[in-house]
Symmetry: C2
DNA sequence: AAAACCTTGACACGGCCGTGGTAAGGTCAC
DNA sequence: GTGACCTTACCACGGCCGTGTCAAGGTTTT
C-alpha cells in the first residue's frame, strides 16, 4: 500500500507542505501517522486535498469557512441557533440585503485577485 | 409606530453606531430607510440585533461566520458542495481531528479574551 | 439659521489568516 | 553514519476583520 510522505503529497496535490500541516490543524484533512510520527497520505487524503482545493476556488471561500461549516455540521446546538436566527424575520429590505452582503463577501476575493496580479 | 434612529438603536442594543452600519453591510440586519436615507430601526430589528449579539457570544462565533452561514443557507449549490465535501470520507484519524480543529477554532477566542484582559 | 443628528468615505490600529522560511532535533535509506 | 527527509516551534509579512474617529456634507428641529 502506497502512502505518500508530506513532500510527495504536496507535489501531487499542489498544496505546499506548510499548507498541508495547516489544513490538518484546521481539522480538514488529517493523514495517518507512521510510528515515528511521519504524516502518511493515502489515496483518500490525496483526493480529499484536491477536491478541497477545487471547492475553495470554485466558490471563493476560505479554509476558515469550511472549518466553520464543519463545526456547523457537527454541533447541532450551534446549527439550530444559527439557522434559527437566520430563519427569523429576514431583515426588512430584502433587496438591499442581497446586494450588499454579496458585495461584502466577494470584495475580499476581488481584492485578493487584484493584489495577486491575476 | 416608533422607529429608532441609529444612535438610539445603538444605545438600546449595546452595539455601537459604527458596528450597526457594519452589521448592515454584512447583510445581517438591514433597517428601513427614511426618505432622506436615515436608518430607521423598528422593534423587529432591535430584537434581531440583541439576539445576534447573544448568538455571537454564546457560541464564540464571529459576524463573518454568521454571514457565511447565511450564504450557505441561501446558495444551495454552495451548501451541497460543502456538505458533500464534508460528508465524504471523514478524514482517517477521527480522534485527532475532533481534538485539533476544536482547538483551532477556539484558540482565537481564548486569545481574544486574554487580550481583552477578562 | 443654528444646533443636533444623520450619511458616506477615509485613515488608523491591533490581531488573526494564509503563507513562507528557518532552526533544532529525530528518522530513514543506503 | 551520513545525507535526505520528517517533526515541531517560532519569526515575518501583507491583507482582512472589527472597531474607533474624523471630515464634509445633507436633514430635522426649534
Amino acid at each position: 500500500m502506497e502512502a505518500l510522505t508530506i513532500n510527495e503529497a504536496a507535489s501531487t496535490t499542489g498544496w505546499s507542505p506548510r499548507m498541508l500541516r495547516y489544513v490538518e490543524q484546521a481539522g480538514l484533512v488529517a493523514p495517518e501517522r507512521s510510528a515515528a510520527g511521519y504524516r502518511l497520505y493515502g489515496a483518500a487524503e490525496l483526493q480529499r486535498l484536491r477536491t478541497l482545493k477545487e471547492l475553495l476556488s470554485e466558490f471563493e471561500i476560505t479554509l476558515s469557512d469550511v472549518a466553520f461549516a464543519r463545526r456547523l455540521a457537527s454541533d447541532s446546538g450551534l446549527r439550530r441557533a444559527v439557522d434559527g436566527w437566520l430563519a427569523a424575520r429576514p431583515a426588512r429590505p430584502e433587496h438591499v440585503q442581497a446586494e450588499d452582503w454579496l458585495r461584502f463577501e466577494q470584495e475580499k476575493h476581488e481584492r485578493l485577485l487584484a493584489a495577486a496580479g491575476a
